[in-house]
Symmetry: C4
Subunit: 195 residues, 4 copies
């Protein structure tokens, strides 16, 4: 996880902290080597434990995902990108919006199940991936999907049959990984900072 | 078409690929020289084949055009710029949002007919022009029109009679070409990168 | 007026053209010296003729003013800044959204009357001032007022009595002039480009 | 307070003016040393007088706080950050939107009571803190909460019981102070300008 207090814009590989399964940030001698956001640990650790296929979970509070989550409704097939999620999403309809314990994270993991996306009620979006790239790629795509939902409150979704056809190419893990490649190419022209 | 994976911000003339009518990207010897977005080929090739007057089609997923398209409604004469489209638009009311084959593009071309704009349901906007400049100019103008529609859901359009008068100067091809000139002058101060 | 085709971002004093009362841009010998947007002339000339107190009118198509104008409703006292306009605004409820002749501008001038703001139906905002600074200052303030109206469609205005008290300090010409000073100080750190 | 007319972007410690309890900006000899926004004095002085625990109040007109205030409704527990305010907010349901006298500020102070946030009807947000950092941190957090409310007009809040649990960690003064630290680290990489 990112060293506590480091802004995303300054995040580089050497600012990442290795967190033990018990939430401790220590070196081989048991001495503290840094600190992490406890709520982050409470959310991520149980998810990664429950989902051996996932190596990464992404969550932050965003311009559209967080407002959308206040509606406590799943995504509908309102746009092409929505089809990546409509058959592979979960709702955490639980009022623990500040995840104060690992128990809260366990309940999120239970709600998430096998899905790639969980809408955390009144909180925001959470995605998982088999790679860091896919977790982040899905998160950004889900944010764009939330934007469509917020801006088209009376929109008409396509049918499940049609959404399933689109999902066949948009929903596989490789599609999320690809979104990340585009983001990286656009936003991090000099990738040496993260290598 | 743009070389597969090159971000719009890095698009220069030497990153464009010549795509054959069969979707192949090959040199004179039949050897592959690059790759393009297959869905892009599936959409653009049938449109250009069906519309000999058009040399370019523009389509991407945008902040207002994509949310608006989820309403499955044509533009109304809500703003001056809307008048460029209200008598020259089509709706692709088809649930193929991920265009997986040339057949999908043929159906888009059939829906488009002789119009300059096609609203692709739950997908986004698509415009065509007799020049690349007009196709792009119409696309950007249509995006601004979509913005007005999203932000004025209860707006009152002007009458068809009045919209037709405004369309007489706003709808001709030269008006779309002119929008592009303004965009270029604002966004690409050094046009040598695209010459 | 600005030389035809020069983007706002490149507007400097030496790019302004002196336009005669007949819309001609000529030197003392009657030779053309440039060109201006005809619709701009059609709108501005009759307003300046009808309002000898005004030396400038401001109008462009904006993110909130244009969508708001599609509602064909005057501003209400929804925010502090709204009070500068609620007793000093007019509605051009006319479907000529592309002002093709001086006659259209004369009708706008008639609708404007003695007000500082005219909402041009399905078109956008227009403000006048006794100085260029005030016309621009009012325009930008009106755009912020339109933003509040678009984002608070169910808002409750304050009473006319209370709005009148706020208007006593916010509505006088000097308040619009002052808005411009802040804009200039924020946006044009080096004012030598416009001096 | 900031010297009258200095934009926020140029605000540095040496541009701040010390304002006397009577609103005067004078040196030891009684000579004027600068000028401040009178409305600012009218609002801030009575609040600081009524709240000896508060050393700072923050108020400006914002993209979401001002539109939200036109609804004349308190925040609901629509998002995690909302929980910092739902038990610690007040409504100034008074139509004095341009605070022309210290009396107006006294009524705001009375409405504020012991809360950290006061929604000023048709005007905007106002927050107080025991430190400048907390006042500003709460203000920015309240603006984000207003954004969620504007974008999720039909949102469902969590229960008071659940909101109270989240408030136990999000509402204390230290949480507002911490928001400021993040803002400073993101926005002012070189803090020497404010030291």
């Amino acid at each position: 996880m990112l060293d506590w207090g480091v802004p995303f814009g300054e995040a580089t590989v050497d600012r990442l902290m290795l967190v033990g399964p018990d939430g401790e940030v220590k070196d081989a001698n048991g001495d503290p080597t840094g600190a992490v956001n406890t709520a982050g640990y409470n959310i991520h650790a149980p998810i990664l434990a429950a989902r051996p296929d996932a190596v990464s979970a992404a969550h932050t509070h965003t311009q559209f995902g967080t407002p959308w989550s206040a509606n406590v409704e799943p995504f509908r097939a309102l746009s092409q990108e929505s089809c990546a999620f409509v058959f592979d999403q979960a709702m955490f309809d639980d009022e623990e919006v500040e995840v104060l314990s690992v128990d809260g994270g366990k309940r999120i993991a239970a709600a998430l199940g096998d899905s790639k996306l969980c809408v955390l009620r009144n909180h925001g979006l959470l995605t998982v991936g088999r790679t860091v790239e896919a977790a982040v790629g899905w998160f950004v795509m889900a944010e764009r999907v939330a934007e469509v939902h917020v801006k088209a409150p009376a929109g008409s979704p396509i049918s499940d049959e049609s959404a399933a056809i689109a999902a066949s190419t948009l929903s596989p893990e490789a599609a999320g990984w690809r979104v990340f490649q585009w983001l990286q190419r656009n936003l991090v022209p000099d990738t040496s900072v993260v290598e």
